[in-house]
């Protein structure tokens, strides 16, 4: 079993699997200060590494730039994985969330179990399960759908997203004042009509900030796929370091990778905070 206490760098994002509790979890705590610190740390690391490097070796900054296109390729896969996992997870999560508020007890029970199970399962464990349990291709009639490793790990991540979105839906529905249900009922709306026309449209707005927050957390969680051998940015960084075989590159390289994720997630985090503030006013 994997625990938090590990010194493997690849397992560090593991703490991000801590589930979003409540309706609106705290926004991912990124501020502009983090960016400054990060850039400063990168520059510091580059210069320290430069000092430690052999005199004949090419400069550190040049090496980073040289590998940037490859890193960008890997990062594109991270983004693709986050998009697909978010899409699948949101669709499934909505269905599961509606099952959570079903009037039928058995439906609610099953949905509750699935939600709690996937919400509290470590993401990495889900990834391993999907990696090992899913076939490498699916045959539906004559059509063969290949399931490459990155797709399988994306499905694993979607399960975690699904459970978190389900909980968001449930929380948002419960946060709508009871008077809305009563008013719709008094106007002879059926339960389905009430949900579709009155409750859910109001939920979407409430759910958007925590949903974006979940997306940012998912994106920084995609490097987990490196553990199961997907060639995303994290894996490629390892490959690059192996190819260069220069120990002084280790710190600047990983910091560089960190910067990529920061640059992508920071605007999302800021936008989430802005949205949260705007929705609070009304």
């Amino acid at each position: 079993m994997i625990t938090d206490a590990t010194d493997l760098p690849v397992l560090k994002p593991f703490r991000l699997s801590c589930p979003l509790r409540g309706e609106a979890g705290p926004a991912i705590p990124l501020t502009a200060t983090h960016a400054v610190v990060l850039v400063f740390a990168l520059l510091l690391a580059v210069s320290i590494a430069q000092a430690a490097a052999a005199p004949a070796a090419p400069p550190i900054l040049a090496t980073l730039i040289k590998w940037t296109p490859l890193l960008a390729q890997g990062f594109a896969l991270n983004i693709a994985m986050s998009f697909i996992a978010m899409g699948i997870g949101t669709a499934l999560g909505f269905a599961l969330g509606l099952a959570l508020i079903s009037l039928r007890r058995p439906v609610r029970g099953v949905a509750w179990f699935l939600t709690e199970f996937f919400r509290n399962a470590p993401w990495l464990v889900l990834l391993f399960y999907c990696m090992l349990l899913l076939p490498f291709e699916l045959r539906i009639g004559d059509a063969i759908i290949p399931l490459p490793g990155w797709m399988k790990s994306t499905l694993g991540l979607s399960l975690a997203v699904m459970a978190n979105v389900a909980e968001l839906v449930r929380g948002a529905v419960n946060s709508i004042p009871f008077g809305q249900w009563e008013a719709a009922e008094a106007l002879a709306f059926t339960r389905m009509q009430t949900l579709r026309m009155v409750i859910l449209p109001q939920c979407i707005k409430r759910m958007t900030p925590p949903w974006m927050n979940l997306y940012a957390i998912l994106t920084v969680g995609t490097p987990l796929a490196s553990v199961v051998g997907v060639s995303e940015a994290m894996t490629l960084t390892g490959d690059i370091l192996a190819a260069e075989n220069r120990s002084e590159l280790l710190v600047p390289m990983y910091l560089y990778l960190l910067l990529w994720f920061f640059v992508y997630c920071y605007p999302i985090a800021r936008f989430t905070v802005r949205l949260e503030r705007r929705f609070q006013v009304r």
């Binding site: 004042p177 008077g179 008013a183 002879a188 109001q202």
Partner: protein
């Protein structure tokens, strides 16, 4: 069951009991509302007035007794609740407008989606209703942009759009500023004058005296006494009624 005719009470409540857990909310309450009649229900808070209204359109199921709306038993597991609710309009203390829709859309939603009536005709009627509650210039406003009194009038228009046979008003002015209370009461009085059957739970004694055909004083889930307003206010017999009136008037 005999068919309902307009000379019988439109709403007939007989010996209704209801408990929430240990708390007996309704304790054998009985009252009648004739077609076109206006009944005001008054009484101290916790008397079960709001709960009684919710029982009439089956928002709250009752334990025992009988509630007939146009001869149809509400306290019946086989009852088509949606059909009943089309006949019974309800306006709430907190307005409960749908905040994501404009005032006009709030009025139109139920006729379009519940009654499945054509949009064009519904829209015309909705505009007429907005004029009736004197908010024709607020059709495109969202509930958040309206004052409490305006929201409550939209809520009245929204209920009327279903063309109900009876309207239930649940302390509709209790959450309003004093200066906007009047505009809502005027709207209700106009409705009553047009012959709409109304059951009104209210704390506005002056309004009740002016508008009601019958005033019911309830306390602890029973009707303590009732009568036409002039008689009721002049010569209340029961000490509980007299005490309540002396506190309020």
């Amino acid at each position: 069951m005999m068919a309902w005719t307009p000379d019988q009470p439109l709403v007939s409540i007989r010996d209704v009991h209801l408990a929430f857990g240990q708390v007996q909310v309704l304790n054998g309450i009985s009252l009648d509302v004739m077609k076109g009649g206006v009944v005001c229900i008054i009484g101290p808070s916790g008397a079960g007035k709001s709960t009684l209204l919710r029982c009439v359109n089956a928002l709250v199921p009752i334990d025992r007794g009988s509630i007939l709306v146009e001869g149809q038993e509400v306290h019946d597991a086989k009852l088509d609740k949606l059909k009943l609710r089309r006949k019974v309009g309800m306006v709430f203390q907190q307005y409960n407008l749908f905040p994501h829709r404009t005032a006009l859309e709030n009025v139109m939603m139920a006729p379009v989606h519940v009654l499945k009536r054509p949009r064009g005709a519904v829209e015309q009627e909705a505009r007429a209703l907005m004029r009736k509650v004197r908010l024709e210039d607020k059709e495109g406003s969202y509930p958040g942009e309206l004052s409490g009194g305006q929201q409550q009038r939209v809520a009245i228009a929204r209920s009327l759009a279903m063309q109900p046979d009876v309207m239930l008003f649940d302390e509709v002015t209790a959450a309003l500023d004093p200066e906007t209370v009047k505009e809502v009461l005027v709207t209700i009085r106009e409705l009553a004058e047009e012959g709409m059957t109304c059951m009104i739970v209210t704390h506005e004694m002056g309004f009740a005296r002016e508008i009601a055909d019958d005033i019911y004083f309830t306390d602890r889930g029973v009707v303590v006494e009732h009568g036409p307003p002039a008689e009721f206010f002049a010569s209340a017999r029961d000490p509980r009624t007299r005490q309540f009136l002396s506190q309020i008037l």
